[in-house]
């Protein structure tokens, strides 16, 4: 008997399309029956929905109120500022995505471009008119143009950070205004719709992440007071519903604060969301911290790193990488929880709040379904972009591989 020495290729799969169908859907008479019944039901439901969507549905409820859905009661004459701000964000996002050379940021940029292009299609036939539609389409295209421009002339990381740090407050001032006659003030309690949803969720994510990381480190600190305070904070916040926190932030806070201090409506809501979310981020990150083998910390100590360096270069990079899926899940629910702002009586109407107001209009009684389908579609789009970006981020950082 001879010994085989050559390497053999793996056996080739011989399953064709027909065989695949038979194997997976029609393997026995029972599974054939289930396939036919379920398949038929799905086709029927889709057809019924399409028939309703094309013939009976009154999509006018969305198009005639489209400005409300996008920016809420933001002064109509000042709406151009929102489109201008979006333009700046589009350019920055495109350029940043190119210069980070990361598939995750590229996915976010594609999402921003696609989102604006989709909205522009609706805007063309809406109360906003073709001009705004064209502006949104232009912004969407601008993201892509900035991306390809950025590929050719890459930014340094530091310049990118500075650009965002300067742009965000500047855009906020632009949106709020500085007073007549230059830029009349638009009070933040008038900001609404998708604009507000976007501000609260992006702001909540960006702010709660670092706070949460600090809390997680605090909870594992060797200093007993820091550890105790972090633990108390996390446990208290996690034991309270977000609605109550928002209520406290919206109604109690102004009563408690001394007279002269007024915090803008949006900031109160943002603070509530951030403080709430940070406690959850902290617990996610703590899980990641605990998964780090003690040998890593010993090795970091042995080469003489101090506590800050140890966390910055050894512990956090590994811990945060392993909790990306959990944190993105958290941020997706944060995005959806921004809808609670309208319920908590903050006086702010984000996307869902606007939807409820629109449905209450006498002209559109009975058009709930159209409104909620539209709102669901918008939320689905936002969440889908986020989860796609997170898959790219996981791949890029090699979760479970290195």
């Amino acid at each position: 008997m001879s010994v085989r020495t050559e390497h053999l290729p793996p056996p080739v799969s011989t399953i064709g399309r027909r065989a695949w169908l038979r194997q997976n859907l029609f393997s026995s008479w029972l599974s054939s029956l289930i396939t036919i019944v379920l398949g038929g039901a799905i086709v029927l439901l889709v057809l019924l929905f399409l028939e309703w969507a094309v013939t009976d549905a009154r999509w006018g409820v969305v198009t005639t109120n489209f400005r409300l859905f996008l920016i809420g009661q933001y002064t109509a004459d000042a709406a151009w500022r929102v489109w201008l701000a979006l333009m700046v964000v589009s350019v920055l996002t495109g350029v940043s995505a190119a210069s980070t050379a990361s598939r995750a940021t590229r996915t976010l940029a594609i999402g921003l471009a696609a989102g604006q292009l989709l909205l522009s299609l609706i805007a063309l036939f809406s109360d906003l008119g073709p001009l705004v539609g064209a502006a949104l389409a232009f912004n969407g295209a601008l993201v892509l143009a900035a991306y390809f421009g950025g590929l050719r002339f890459p930014f340094r990381g530091r310049i990118r950070t500075i650009a965002w740090v300067v742009a965000v407050p500047a855009l906020f001032v632009l949106l709020q205004g500085i007073g007549r006659p230059l830029l009349p003030v638009v009070p933040t309690n008038l900001w609404g719709g998708l604009l507000l949803t976007f501000l609260l969720s992006v702001g909540g994510i960006v702010l709660s992440f670092p706070v949460g990381v600090l809390l997680a480190l605090g909870r594992r600190s060797e200093l007993p007071v820091v550890r105790l305070l972090s633990t108390i904070y996390i446990e208290v916040i996690r034991g309270v519903p977000l609605v109550t926190l928002l209520f406290i932030a919206a109604i109690m806070l102004p009563l408690v604060l001394p007279g002269g201090i007024r915090i803008e409506h949006v900031f109160r809501a943002l603070a509530g969301i951030t403080l709430f979310s940070a406690a959850y981020v902290a617990e996610n990150v703590r899980g990641g911290l605990q998964a780090i083998p003690s040998g890593q910390i010993e090795a970091a100590n042995a080469i003489g790193l101090n506590a800050y360096q140890r966390n910055r270069y050894i512990v956090l990079p590994q811990a945060l990488r392993s909790v990306i899926p959990a944190n993105v899940g958290l941020f997706i629910s944060l995005l959806k929880d921004t809808t609670l702002v309208a319920i908590a009586g903050t006086g702010l109407l984000e996307l869902l709040g606007i939807g409820r107001a629109v449905v209450a209009q006498p002209a559109w009684i009975g058009a709930q379904l159209e409104v909620y389908i539209f709102i669901s579609a918008v939320f689905f789009f936002l969440c889908y972009v986020m989860s796609q970006a997170s898959y790219r981020l996981e791949e890029q950082m090699g979760v479970g591989k290195r």
Partner: protein, 265 residues
């Protein structure tokens, strides 16, 4: 409780602390350590001269790893005195940092940083602690990778390396800080047999270069060839110490004979 334990377990030290000459780079006097109620180091006296290679061996649980980990303060000793290069180990953070930067350590399980490449593992300490420029640190790192025989692995991540390569990169990482002393905590115990020799070769070369080394290992061939002194630990005390010729040839203690006969078969 501590005093009782001390008198109960005190053994006659081989070197009296008074003998600590200026040449001694490590001086340990009556070092005690408890894990909870467990008395794991029960009065260790040991001096190490600059350039000396000391091999510590003994059964598992004898405190040998714990002892070398007290030398760079990965474990805190609770009684006694440890002086490294003239600096006494106390709770003063500056002292700990100063001592750690003079001591390189190699672990049984390598403990490379998995999110960094081999090169980044080696340059991290020099860049962040020694404040070297990136260029200088990388140049030194490449020299060290050549010295340990795997310069072509610089851009790879630890998971892409074999155990022997990982351990050699870990040795290069420790050497990159230009330490005066190297501690090896069972560096070959987690390796497949065919990879042990490549790590021992690097350690042998290092010993030849005059590095002060304390190695916890059961590689008796390595000990016989390289060690200036061998120290047998058992139950938290030093049972016997002496040059390899004495330990292998005419050990004074019955426990030494017994232990050697166990591991040499």
């Amino acid at each position: 409780m501590t005093d009782e334990a001390r008198t109960a377990t005190a053994t006659a030290p081989q070197d009296s602390p008074d003998k600590a000459a200026g040449d001694d780079i490590i001086v340990c006097r009556d070092v005690h350590k408890w894990f909870g109620q467990l008395h794991v180091l029960r009065g260790i006296d040991m001096n190490v001269k600059s350039g000396e290679v000391v091999v510590i061996f003994g059964p598992s649980g004898s405190g040998k790893s714990t002892f070398i980990r007290t030398i760079n303060r990965l474990e805190e000793h609770q009684r006694g005195q440890i002086i490294v290069d003239g600096i006494e180990l106390t709770n003063d953070i500056r002292n700990i940092a100063a001592i750690r930067s003079e001591i390189g350590m190699v672990f049984q399980s390598f403990n490379l940083f998995p999110h960094l490449t081999a090169l980044e593992n080696i340059t991290l300490g020099p860049i962040r602690v020694r404040k070297w420029s990136k260029d200088k640190a990388e140049q030194t790192a490449m020299e060290l990778l050549s010295r340990v025989g795997c310069p072509e692995q610089a851009k790879k991540y630890p998971a892409q390396l074999s155990g022997g390569q990982q351990q050699r990169v870990a040795i290069a990482r420790a050497l990159a800080m230009r330490p005066k002393i190297m501690l090896f905590d069972e560096p070959t115990s987690a390796l497949d047999p065919e990879m042990i020799s490549e790590v021992l070769d690097v350690m042998r070369e290092l010993a030849g270069s005059g590095m002060t080394m304390i190695c916890v290992t059961h590689e008796m061939g390595f000990a016989r060839a390289v060690a200036n002194r061998m120290v047998l630990f058992d139950e938290g005390v030093i049972v016997e110490e002496g040059p390899p010729s004495q330990i292998f040839g005419e050990p004074e203690q019955e426990r030494t004979k017994q232990f050697l006969s166990q591991i040499l078969h």
